[in-house]
Each structure stands twice: as structure tokens, then as C-alpha cells.
Symmetry: C2
Subunit: 168 residues, 2 copies
DNA sequence: CCCAGATCGTTGAGAAAGTCAATAGTTTTC
DNA sequence: GAAAACTATTGACTTTCTCAACGATCTGGG
């Protein structure tokens, strides 16, 4: 979202479109959620980019580093991405020698993704930076609030899928 | 996200990849935020789709209906979309006679987007449905909590952009 | 007044991301 | 042991993103 080259500038002060906050969508929780996410994503992305990573690859690397030896299908499910995207992601990380594909001992169809030492080293650095931007993104919240937010978001994640047929 | 034809089923119970929640990203606020947003988006999208709208077009329509006569540039800025995407969005809505482009009296370069009567009628229906899914998405939160969430998210939205050079 | 520079909407091209079907190899189930 | 289900991969295709260019218009300075 806009690569702040140097002078972000001029004076877009109160952006000029702020009056639109008074609209229906402006008060919408879902809309706010999307905005906050976009912001958070942009910040994290900028940080990860310094290490040649996108948020996606960063996430995959993070999981690999955790030594849980996930299969690609597990990654696909957990990250909610199409299996083919996982292939591309792992391909890229593997080509940079940050992770390795190892055969799953329990299932010869499956690969298990593990981090290399380089991967761990890079992740350590990247993680510090990314965690830093988290403090930037959520800086306007107190620690207490951030915990509240986290717990609420986690509950949303666990919530049931749209039941699709609810009594009108 | 998966068109629940009929038997969504079998037993994906505890998805099988839930163990990955124990990873670094699993506890990440930003990650939870992304997930919650994806969920919210999927639900809203499903609802809007019943009226031939996507979340994007729904948003534009919502703003048009509000009678604030936004220019396309204002839409672009507020929705954080490239101007060319606004063109496409408005083109589509206009082709369905839901909105009209009117010349901005103050600036002959600019168009102002206004809703037609059909647009208003359709939005009224769509809005009801979409607001309904919001109750689904955020159903696991009490009204009190939802308000807290809203206020926190709004504060995040107002937060400053990444300052880009923070002491390492 | 007039010109330079910025701004608005539009178009078009190219990259990135998302979606989906098909396939080889492997496991599961009966 | 054969059929059905599953994993990773590939390829095609659509949608979305990002950016540069352009005509028309507005703004500010000389």
C-alpha cells in the first residue's frame, strides 16, 4: 500500500474523503475489521520484505521453524490457502534453502516441511522486525486492550461457519 | 469459501491442522485479525452475492445511497482502491442502473456517484441480509464486546502509518 | 491573460493471487 | 486385492493489484 519513498507529503492531512466515514459502511464492524487488517498486513509486509519475504512466506517459515513438521496439506488448511499455492510458497522457500521438504514417515504421499538452519536464522531476524511493526500497528491500544482484542478475535476464528439457512 | 452443497461433512471435526495453533503465527494478533477478516468477508460476500453484488460493489453502492455525492477519487481514497478499480466498479453498477455518474458542479474533471431508485431499493434488501450475516460472524461476541471491538478497530484505523525508520 | 504543473477519470498492460480440474503415487476400506 | 479417498503437483483460467500513460480540467505565478 503505497511505498513511502520519501516525502509522503504535501498535505493529505484529513485525507479529504474522511467525510465518508458518516456512511453506512463507515460504521460497519466488518469494514473496520477489513481496514485494520489491511493496515496490519501492510506494516507486516513492509517488515518482511526487508528479508525478501511476503507475509505468506513468512507465515510458512514461522510454522516450519516451530518444528511441528506440518504436511503441506496441513499448511493449506491452517493458512486457508489452496494446496497449489502452498506448493509455490514452499518451492520458493526451498529454492532459497530456508526450508526442506522431507518425506512423511507415516504417509509416503505427504511431504513435511522443516526449516533449515539458514531458515531459522533468517526467521529470527525477520520475526524481531515483524513483531516490532505489530507494536506499531497496535500501538494505539494498551496491553490490556490488545489482549482483549486477541481473545475476541480468537473466539471469532472458532465461530461456526455461516449456517446459510436461518429462519427469516 | 466452499459452497455448502449439502453434505459438507464427513468429519473434519477438529480440522486436523489445529495443532498448528501452537506456532508463532498462531498466537499472532495480526494473524487472528486476518482470519477474522477472511471469515467476515466470506460471510458478507455470500450475502451480497444473492443480489449480484460483491463486497466491493456493495460498499460503493452503500456510499452512493448515503447521498454524499462522493467523487470517484474520494471513493478510491476511502476504500483504499486504485482509481482504475473504482472505474470498473462504477461501470458495473452503472450498467445495472444502480448508480449514475453526474458531473461535479465544482470540478468538471470529476464525476460524482449517486444512487438511482433501483440502487436504493436493491441496497435496502442487500443491507438487511448483509447486516444479518454480521450477526452471524460476530455472534460469539456480546453486544458490549462488539462495541468494544468496534471502538478499538476504529482507533487502529486512525493510527499513524508505519514510520518506516525506527531505531533498530 | 497564459503557461506550467498538478489533479481526475479512463485505458491498457503486466504481475500477482485465487480457483479449479486433472494426474501420478499412495493409503484406506471393504 | 480392487475401489475409493487422499497428497502433492501441474496447468489453465479468472480475478485482483499495480503502474504508467493520456486527455481534459483546474490552480498558481508571472
Amino acid at each position: 500500500m503505497q511505498t513511502s519513498t520519501e516525502s509522503t507529503v504535501a498535505a493529505p492531512r484529513t485525507s479529504g474523503s474522511d467525510r465518508l466515514w458518516a456512511t453506512t459502511v463507515g460504521g460497519d464492524v466488518a469494514f473496520l475489521l477489513a481496514r485494520a487488517n489491511a493496515l496490519s498486513l501492510a506494516n507486516a509486509h513492509a517488515a518482511a520484505a526487508e528479508y525478501g519475504l511476503k507475509v505468506r512466506s513468512y507465515s510458512v517459515l514461522a510454522i516450519a521453524v516451530s518444528d511441528m513438521r506440518p504436511t503441506q496439506r496441513e499448511l493449506s488448511e491452517f493458512l486457508q490457502l489452496d494446496p497449489s499455492q502452498i506448493v509455490a510458497l514452499v518451492d520458493e522457500l526451498e529454492s532459497r534453502a530456508l526450508v526442506r521438504r522431507e518425506p512423511d514417515p507415516n504417509d509416503r504421499r505427504a511431504n513435511v516441511v522443516v526449516a533449515t538452519d539458514e531458515g531459522r536464522a533468517l526467521f529470527a531476524e525477520a520475526h524481531a522486525k515483524v513483531a516490532g511493526t505489530e507494536r506499531t500497528t497496535f500501538g494505539s491500544l494498551s496491553d490490556q486492550e490488545r489482549m482483549t482484542l486477541t481473545s475476541m478475535l480468537r473466539r471469532l476464528a472458532d465461530a461456526p461457519d455461516a449456517p446459510d439457512a436461518l429462519p427469516a
